[in-house]
């Protein structure tokens, strides 16, 4: 058996295979639910209801999707250049730290909008700087960025742990390891008063549009795609490959950091170690499911967030652990990767 490339995959193939991947996910997910001793159909219904069954549920899903849009975009941008940024988690926390530092500083005297902008810029720059190191090591010395960005996640988490236990610990926090709260002027307001959806979500949509425009309309986007597809040809044509990788890293790191900014300024209001339940890693799944398309990232982020929120709510109603959400996502990702592969190659004998 070997793989044979398909030159021009048919539209039917492009639609049928992802659909089959989704069906396979549901079937295997149902078997897991059965194993947990519940009714798969009812459970599936509960997940959907929990994710989108009410205005409250839907807004909760969109709130959860917000950081995933940013980390998903960060990954999608980097992966497009074949820059394997596995460190969105570290960049997210970097952004969160700067958001809290500026949001709790003397600058709080600033009016709300400049203050929020300053926080966002500082957060994005921090994230960009965090990814700059690995990319320079990669372009200069050929150090594998998968390793460096991944390891930076743990370094960053430990650093945050130090900050919230030490210099940034809230003196009024009853001993909990968390930072001071942001000033009210430094909080992202709700989009509609009374509903729990903050402007971070809108910012995510704007970011997705901007990334899409960069990728399709600018010379940088063209360079990023060229470098990702074929660095040798890009170099031969005169594209400054290393510079493009650096720019890609700055964009990617900045986007991931905005996830931290949006979570702190929009939702939590302070820095703590449970700020991100792995949004950086889930961003990889989001980006892969979206086939690295920036607008697709929005949809897949909402889908992924829906599964998490729905599974949370389902586990309260049925007696199935919330871990089913992680398993469903993992299964969906594996099947989707297989479906993507099979749209471009077919298995032949001999």
């Amino acid at each position: 058996m070997r793989l044979e490339p398909i030159d021009n995959p048919s539209l039917a193939r492009k639609i049928a295979l992802p659909a089959a991947a989704l069906a396979a996910t549901i079937i295997i997910g149902s078997l897991l639910v059965l194993a947990a001793g519940a009714n798969p159909f009812a459970t599936l219904g509960l997940i959907i209801k929990g994710a989108a069954g009410s205005k409250f549920a839907l807004l909760e899903t969109l709130n959860r999707a917000t950081p995933l849009i940013f980390t998903g975009l960060a990954v999608a941008v980097a992966f497009r250049a074949k820059l394997w940024n596995i460190g969105a988690e570290a960049q997210l926390y970097g952004g969160a730290i700067l958001t809290v530092v500026i949001g709790t500083s003397a600058l709080a005297a600033l009016p709300s909008i400049p203050h929020l902008l300053l926080m966002a810029v500082a957060a994005a720059l921090t994230g960009a700087m965090i990814l700059l190191g690995p990319v320079i090591l990669k372009t200069r010395f050929g150090v594998d960025e998968v390793v460096t960005t991944l390891l930076l996640n743990f370094i960053m988490l430990l650093f945050v742990s130090y900050l919230v236990e030490g210099p940034m610990k809230d003196p009024m926090g009853m001993g909990w390891p968390k930072s001071e709260r942001l000033a009210n002027e430094a909080r992202l307001p709700r989009i509609v008063t009374g509903l729990r959806l903050h402007w971070g979500f809108a910012l995510g949509l704007i970011a997705a549009m901007v990334v899409w425009i960069i990728q399709t309309r600018t010379t940088l986007g063209y360079e990023i795609r060229a470098v990702g597809h074929n660095p040798a040809a890009a170099k031969f044509a005169g594209i400054p490959v290393n510079m493009v990788l650096v720019k890609t890293a700055l964009l990617s790191g900045g986007l991931a950091a905005l996830a931290g900014y949006s979570e702190v300024a929009g939702l939590k209001g302070h820095l703590s170690l449970d700020l991100s339940p792995g949004f950086g890693y889930t961003g990889i799944i989001v980006a892969m499911l979206a086939l690295l398309h920036p607008l697709g990232v929005v949809i897949s982020a909402i889908f992924v967030a829906g599964i998490f929120v729905g599974a949370d709510s389902m586990s309260r109603a049925a007696d199935v652990p919330t871990y089913i959400a992680d398993m469903l996502l993992a299964i969906a990702l594996l099947f989707m990767v297989l479906a993507i592969l099979l749209t471009r190659v077919r298995l032949v004998r001999g």
């Binding site: 600018t218 010379t219 060229a226 597809h229 074929n230 890009a234 031969f236």
Partner: protein, 511 residues
């Protein structure tokens, strides 16, 4: 000859797309015989051996080993039939020892433990019998190239090979190692093994082979006993002697547009870099660079394409020494670059025609302005190339990997020739193309010459060089021969230069 026939290939034909790699090739090998398979790069030698060894399946033809038909596309069957192949590029695991590499794959996956003791004993015995000195416990990664090759040969012998196929075995060896290899081969033949020796080095073929088979453009063009032939005759057969009278009108040669002055560059892997090369490209003149592949052509091409500055010497453009030199500088200095590998360096497979057409010019108007792409300009430019250069394709938004080699090359031609370049570097511009596309590319180059471009044509096909070039250089081991004006050297004479003769100075005259 009445000896036992151990291997018989009949009517082997193999095509890759438009390219006919092998057409109707017959070959017989007798017991205890060494035959040489001779031909230029791309003549189809390696393809033929890969068919024999089961890496490729032939479109037509049969393979018989020791009288029994050999199923195709099955390397294991070839191994079991007693055929051992030593590839040009070694297939060894660097982190394992010699003994581990040799015994790899010879015991069942389920046997659970390795019986390396017995293996080592047998390997040492084989090494002694065949004069293949190597430490069985050494890590392969630490061995020299010559030693690695001995391991490859031992690997084949360990599997009881009765027929050894050596694909360009001396390409990576020093002369001393080559002598040692030949001794081994003599011993092997004395023990009744048969050998197919693939090479394009004439003196080696003369030294080792009993019989020579010459391939050109995928077809068998000659078969001679070594004792009844000469190097010159083989060279002529190999490169072909059907040079048509130049259809090229003489033209006034203009100023020197690009000059290399005593340039040396670092080696590139196993291929040599340039060694004290001086070269001038003049307006209205095609300079042909002949040579066997891997003799410094890549280094020269990379240098002119802007992928590096010389380690020593100068690159001079319009009488200005270049101190900063990158691909973009080269493009902006008016150098049209047709790269050797149009699939991997010349184009981006998953980009469409428009995106590929603007690869070298996307960063400035009219293709983009202040960082914003102007896709309608790109599309219009691409459509004009498609029309002018007759690129057969569904449209400008077709992915370029769906195009045939010839159409891909036409797009590259359009991309680089549209700006009326002063200098053209064409590295193997027609490799793998069909006759129609070859003629088209050649006519484009001649048209550029007529309009005053200075052209460097790098090719391993001597016919092509002889047909197009006003002056010819031969490159060998990174050194450049003197300049030979059109018609002053026969193919056989150039063939000898290509084989590395003449560079030492004894017959070093231009005319």
């Amino acid at each position: 000859m009445t000896l036992e026939v151990v291997l018989r290939l009949a009517g082997i034909t193999k095509t890759f797309g438009d390219l006919v790699a092998n057409s109707g090739i017959d070959l017989t090998l007798h017991k205890g015989e060494v035959i040489a398979l001779l031909g230029e790069n791309g003549a189809g030698k390696t393809t033929l051996m890969n068919i024999l060894f089961g890496h490729y399946v032939a479109d037509a033809g049969t393979v018989e080993a020791f009288g029994a038909p050999l199923p195709q596309g099955n390397p294991r069957a070839a191994l079991e039939a007693g055929i051992g192949m030593v590839h040009q590029h070694f297939t060894l695991a660097e982190n394992l020892t010699v003994a581990e590499n040799i015994s790899l794959g010879t015991s069942s996956l389920w046997s659970g433990r390795l019986r390396l003791g017995q293996s080592k004993k047998r390997i040492r015995q084989l090494a002694e019998d065949f004069g293949l000195l190597v430490d069985v416990d050494a890590k392969v990664g630490n061995l020299t190239v010559g030693e690695k090759q001995r391991v490859e040969i031992l690997k084949a012998l360990y599997r009881d090979a009765r027929i050894l196929i050596l694909d360009e075995p001396t390409a990576v060896l020093t002369p001393q190692e080559t002598d040692a290899l030949f001794e081994t081969l003599h011993k092997a033949v004395a023990m009744g093994l048969s050998i197919v020796f693939i090479s394009h080095k004439l003196h080696e073929v003369m030294a080792i082979a009993d019989r020579c088979l010459v391939l050109r453009h995928g077809a068998l063009v000659g078969e001679v006993e070594t004792k009844n032939t000469s190097r010159e005759a083989l060279a002529e057969m190999m490169v072909g002697n059907k040079v048509e009278p130049p259809e090229v009108a003489p033209i006034q040669v203009g100023a020197t547009l690009l000059e290399l002055r005593h340039v040396s560059t670092p080696d590139m892997g196993t291929a040599p870099g340039l060694q004290d090369v001086s070269l001038s490209l003049k307006a209205g003149q095609i300079t042909g660079l002949a040579g066997v592949s891997g003799n410094g052509q890549a280094a020269l091409s990379d240098l002119i394409c802007g992928l590096g500055l010389p380690e020593q010497g100068q690159l001079v453009l319009d009488e200005t020494v270049q101190n900063r030199w990158n691909p973009r500088d080269a493009v902006q200095s008016g150098i049209a670059r047709i790269p050797e590998d149009r699939h991997h360096t010349g184009t981006i497979a998953d980009f469409d025609l428009s995106e590929n057409a603007i690869l070298e010019t996307y960063q400035k108007p009219p293709m983009s302005k202040r960082g914003w792409m102007n896709w309608s300009q790109a599309k219009a430019f691409t459509e004009s190339i498609i029309a002018t250069y007759d690129v057969r394709c569904p449209g400008a938004s077709t992915k370029i990997r769906l195009l045939s080699g010839g159409n891909m090359q036409k797009l590259i031609l359009g991309r680089v020739l549209e700006g009326n370049p002063k200098i053209i570097l064409a590295n193997q511009p027609v490799r793998g193309l069909d006759i129609g596309a070859i003629t088209y590319v050649h006519n484009q180059l001649l048209a550029a010459r007529a309009s005053g471009a200075a052209i460097l044509l790098i090719s391993e096909d001597l016919d092509e060089i002889l047909r197009l070039s006003d002056v010819i250089h031969v490159i060998s081991e990174g050194k450049l021969s003197p300049e030979f004006p059109r018609g002053t050297k026969t193919p056989a004479e150039l063939g000898l230069w290509m084989a590395g003769q003449g560079f030492e100075g004894e017959d070093n005259c231009a005319a």
